[in-house]
Amino acid sequence: MMTVVEINRLTKDYEIGFWRKRKVRALDCLSLTINQGEIFGFLGANGAGKTTTLKLLMRLIFPTEGSARILGHDIAEVAMHSRIGYLPENPYFYDYLSAMEFLNFCGQLFGLSKVERTSRAKELLSRVRLDESKWDTQLRKFSKGMLQRVGLAQSLINDPEVVFLDEPMSGLDPIGRREVRDLITALRQDGKTVFMCSHILSDIEVLCDRVAILKGGRLAHVGSLEELRQQIDGRNVVEMVVSGTHETALRPYLPGGKDLRVTATPTGLRIELTKEGDVDEVIIALRKTGGKLVSVQPLRQSLEELFLDQK
């Protein structure tokens, strides 16, 4: 699989203070690769270095050390930016322009012809579900959610191969979030690569093929969600729900130790096992006490739990 984004020991220090300047490391030796066609989620608490990484890739700031390549080109190459799209966090565009004028201006920056610009702008504004009656309204009259939609449209004006989205769901209502989720999924179907930062973990969980978690400017974990769960918490918890019996009746037949936790529920018991092999013993114990097995399922940590573990 072709590597689309290659980040190699990328480091960024900021100098703060007026007289006595001191260095603060915002990003520390970040190395990552992102493959063609994948949706890559970039997670981290505020100040973890997510936006710094995106700004470095967009050459808005310059690295202290390290390098990065997008589509095989160094990020300093301006021409390479013809092939990528970027949605900044909390986008603020020229508010004296209308949505159509702004997209037309963006198209000009990519060297698109007038016909191409107009048709692409109309197509994209429809795709991000911006009400047609608002297309010629100045952006200063737009709500945050509407600006976010325009921001998404401008990031796609050049039909990019890679799209970088910084908090794409920010400011959107639940319907808007759903629509943007569908849009990102459609981008993957079109063969695009998407690199997205988000605080909305459920969206990352639903959309992303792979996820990286940043902690204090350092890469804490990277991999598929399944791999992350394994890396962070190697335990495979199995949940069994049973009825028709009591803890006191069941306890003598159950294996002991810390690998088992029993909780009473209104209809029976909920048993959490960290050893899969103990499932058979619980079933045998149920038969002996006349209980019934309602369900057995592996319990997965949600991304939110994983994320909170890292904070």
């Binding site: 301006v78 013809s82 970027y86 020229y94």
Partner: protein, 273 residues
């Protein structure tokens, strides 16, 4: 043709297109931010001048109209060049509109040149409308054709060139310093630039070698804006020679090129936090 070659080719071809787009957008911003509303004030000033001052000046009304009109043109232009010029870059950084621009295939030099040309276009429209206003006032006073109507235009051209130099200086300062400091420094350059000849005189008359060196450096660094101040001679109907106009315009082109190159060099290293 592979994707790389295609995009690099498109990038180079689109170079002028991007500069034009940024310039057009800067002009549109000036128009929508009502920068050209200063023309209304200018017209009011000129109308008042034509009606009242001419009657008081005993046959000197044409001279006064030209003096008043061209001086107001310079003054209004200087305000626009400084206050709009310093905001060209600062506003973009402050409002973060620059983030979406530099993520696109736009070089920092292209951005600065585009912004510069956009403001120059705004100033050109301003100067042309004001120049037409002064010409119309002259026709109104004379109740017929007046040769001054054409003779003032070389002076108007040089006012415009002076404003273009000042805009480049405002842009240079705004590429690395705060708006207030940029405005102050640009205004100082405007004042010192009109006394450039005195700097040279000071450099030769000083006894201390350090002071001589300082004034000589200032003389060569600061643009000689006195070259562009032909308002009084225009009021007397004097027209500068074409070789003089060509020389000072060439000097301006060179000066602006150096200033924009320096601004690009500084701006290219700037981090947008």
């Amino acid at each position: 043709m592979d994707a790389d070659t295609k995009y690099i080719r498109v990038y180079i071809q689109a170079n002028m297109g991007r500069i034009t787009a940024i310039a057009g957008n800067a002009f549109r911003e000036a128009v929508r931010d009502r920068v050209l509303y200063n023309l209304v004030l200018f017209v009011l000033l000129l109308t008042g001048g034509a009606i009242f001052l001419g009657e008081l000046s005993g046959g000197q009304e044409r001279k006064i109209i030209v003096d008043l009109g061209l001086s107001a043109m310079l003054l209004f232009g200087v305000f626009i060049a400084i206050f709009v010029g310093i905001g060209l870059v600062y506003k973009e950084i402050e409002r973060r509109t620059i983030y979406a621009i530099f993520a696109k295939p736009v070089g920092r030099g292209e951005f600065l040149i585009g912004k510069y040309l956009g403001l120059c276009l705004t100033l050109l429209v301003n100067v042309l409308v004001m120049g037409t206003g002064v010409s119309a006032a002259l026709l109104y006073i004379k109740h017929g054709w007046d040769p001054l109507v054409l003779r003032i235009w070389p002076a108007i051209l040089l006012i415009y060139v002076e404003l273009a130099i000042l805009t480049s200086i405002a842009l240079l300062f705004s590429s690395f310093s705060s708006p207030a400091l940029s405005a102050l420094l640009t205004f100082f350059i405007f004042i010192i630039g009109h006394f450039s000849a005195d700097l040279k005189g000071l450099a030769t008359s000083m006894t201390s070698s350090g002071a001589r060196w300082l004034f000589s450096v200032l003389y060569y660094l600061v643009p000689n804006l006195a070259n562009y101040s032909l308002i009084t001679s225009a009021a007397h109907g004097d027209v500068p020679s074409s070789s003089y106009v060509a020389a000072v315009v060439s000097y301006a082109l060179l000066y602006v090129s150096i200033i924009l190159a320096t601004a690009t060099l500084i701006f290219s290293r700037r981090n947008f936090k």
